[in-house]
Amino acid sequence: MSGFFGADLEVINVGIPAFADNIRASGAPAVNLEWRPPGDGDPDVARALATLINRESVEAGNQTAFARYRGAQPVLEGVAAAGETVPGMGERTILHSGPPIDWTRMCGPVRGAIVGAVLYESWAADAARADALIESGEVVLEPCHQHGAVGPMAGIISPSMPVWIVTNTAHGNKAYSNLNEGLGKVLRFGANSPEVLDRLRWMGTVLGPALARMLEQMGGLELKPLMAQALHMGDEIHNRNAAASSLLFRRLMPAALKSGIAHEELEAVTDFITGNDHFFLNISMAACKSMLDAASGVAGSSLVTAMARNGVEFGIRLSGCGDRWFTTAAPVVDGLYFAGYSTADAAPDLGDSSITETAGVGGFAMAAAPAIVQFVGGSPDDAISSTNEMTHITLGRNEAFTLPPLDFVGTPAGIDARKVVDTGITPVINTGIAHREPGVGQIGAGITRAPLACFTQAVVSLAESLEADSSPGGD
């Protein structure tokens, strides 16, 4: 202990870089920030943010929320028809991905998928009548997230579709996701042709009940160990689920054989599961959703509890702001495209699957998935840099999900909206790219970033609510 401020002078330099050089030349340590105006250069955002930095109520809220997220224990409990198990699901309710949006503003793939769901439910005889029914307002369209559910791409869940049920046994909350249809012409990319509907019907009548029996036989499946193991086998459990799907299959099959499923059905079920490298994705998403729902609704917390896209808007939710969405236009993904397609054909970013990044896997666990590093620049070092970058916007690490290339540290987890706005580092998201027209399907994949505008709105809103609470007359 010496010096003027009770310790030797050490400086953080914010602004003119030469000042740091002069300080260092005199022998005192100095760090020069690569400073840029926070919050896209809006001074009001910068002010709001400043009031939240190291604020007691926010720190306390985040500690609670992050502990709940980390303590969550997602268990795959079963499969049931959405209408029987998803809370708040009315007779004519269809759930979609992303933040709330009116039918008239929805993107092509989501409209196509909703029409498909109406046909699948036999609420209308053909696409034109389905359109008319939806426009009449007879069908309630609501976000999956509003019902504890998540779905990739269009994220369509209608009452008779089977859904995975994941229970967080630590806190008792449940999360749901639909079953993955595989690639090609599928509902989640907006296709609604007879082959798509036939597949959905088979999934509803054969696959779903078969899976339900297997899980009953197994007595539930702890998901965190399986996800952790998959991360050690090259998955990031968003854009790569090859290992997790294999691990799941290894657990399901013995149970399937014991559960007395007819051989013919089992053969079809086996073909279906083994033919889809992304079969586990929807389970990964429901697990992530259950962990984040456990962390939501903590006063003062700036933890991000959802990031989701509806093909028109990108939205996020904050633990301390309840169910409120903070939205902005969804970006078009500048990724790698299949032959014959380009960004001009792409629908803007779509789907609830970014719940994986929100929970610290997916793009945040890129270091675990060397097989798909081409998305982030081509080398495993780029993947590690990408994961490391996310440590600057997260509250901590999830030790349940360790990363071998980083000496088994946990994945960076718990996005702190304050840090996103303060650093300008936006969450990285691995994503598939849908064609803007319904039914064409996936046309590419790549990396995108959550738009900063969602986080600046969230930060301003949190700051306002805390100011209101602490002002005279407030609580």
């Binding site: 953080i12 005192a28 690569e34 105006p37 001074p43 002010r47 032959a339 070092d381 600057h392």
Partner: protein
Amino acid sequence: MVKVSKVFHNLYRDSVSLMQVSAALADRPGVAQASAVMASASNIDLLRESGLLDGDAGGEHGASDLLIVVEGEADVVESALADAESLLTRESQAHSGSGPTPIAPRSIEMGLHELPGANLALISTPGEYAAAEARKALNLGLNVMLFSDNVTLADEIALKRLAADRDLMVMGPDCGTAIVDGAPLGFANVVRRGAIGAVAASGTGLQQVTCLIDRSGKGISQALGTGGRDLKTEVGGATMLRGLQALARDPATEVIVLVSKPPAEQVATRILEQAADIPKPVVVNFLGTALQDRPAEAVYLAQTLEDAAAAAVALVDGDEPRPAGDSVTPNEPAIDTLIAELASTQRYVRGLFTGGTFCYEALLLLSKTLGPVYSNTPLDAKYALSDLWRSEAHTLVDLGDDAFTRGRAHPMIDPTLRNERIVSEADDPGVAVILLDLVLGHGAHDDPAEQLAASINAARDKAARDGRAIAFVASVCGTGADPQGLEGQESALREAGVVLTVSNAAAARAAARIAAREKQVYT
């Protein structure tokens, strides 16, 4: 347009690598479409649908074979296929072996991660963001030096309150210079370390005092800035009071100097009261105030920056300071010669300053001896210049004022504006003396004397063509250890025929004498 294809048997590449190859091929001039895929049945269907594949092009293939199809102009498709092969088989070039790239810190929090022992944030962002950065720093337990200007008074008050709550210090806003534990912060001079601590509400005032102390062979323990508004009633001298307390506790500090332009009366009283309570000698220079009553034996009142430095130097040696205002202008026989050369029309002093406090101090001294002095920052609003760009009668201009720096660098950094004005003043037959300051130190121009001397010579030549001789008087505020070097800068000006004094106050007095034609009395 032609389509060609090629099958690589039993060659597996992941779909992302293949999409990269496809994209690289499609980007080539003359190629319309290209696709590299594993030849699974579903991929083949996709290629057929997209029209890229007709019939069984490429021969036999199966799901473990890699198929490349290129459509384009006849002379480019074959070479594209050949390149595709090298793309597929090349060694990984992306891996440089240099490891993951670390990311430079972007926020104060990230900075703290890198430098966990940090105890000060030096903030020089654009003003509209500066208060927010300062608040973050305080919230994270850091002291703050706010170099930025354009911070509102309300923000300044709020930040200083927050700092007081957390037992921290906010220097600024608009605090241009400070020296803490020997480290130069902002635009500071490289001064010797020693036993004199200073707190100043004026940047150039602080530089003048510390440089003069350095010239006297003494040194500085700490030199703290408060920002120019700290001694206003609304702010209440918050930072000067904290600085005073801190220097009182600082074991390295034996003598304290306080510098400010005229403070609010109540604030001045409060500061003097606190100064009186400190068991160390305190030298107070509140420029432009006629304080007479010393609140305590150990509180000394100085009229000029030069006096303040001299008093501190005397006190640190255990001597009693000379009475204020008694400093003597160096014996400069050249002044008599200059007076002799003046034409009868040459009556006026024109001061062109880069330091605001230097301009202010010269205004105080000149108006005492010469009467009304015009300025962009006049003592009396009556004598505000009607046109900033044209001097009248006696005029002193602060070229560092906002009116001149909008959209350009400060004249300490970019002296162009002042150099031009020196030459244009020479056109005025009324000009007797041009009075200048020159500030050295970190952040100032690399070699300001060189260009200043050139402008002085140009002005002198211009006047000479009209048969006039103009006197040039200047002081250099700097030290031998400054990056520019005091000696070299002074000798460049001396070679240009400039009368040099050690302090700004002395320069102002010399200029007044020349304009008033007061010859030196030799004894």
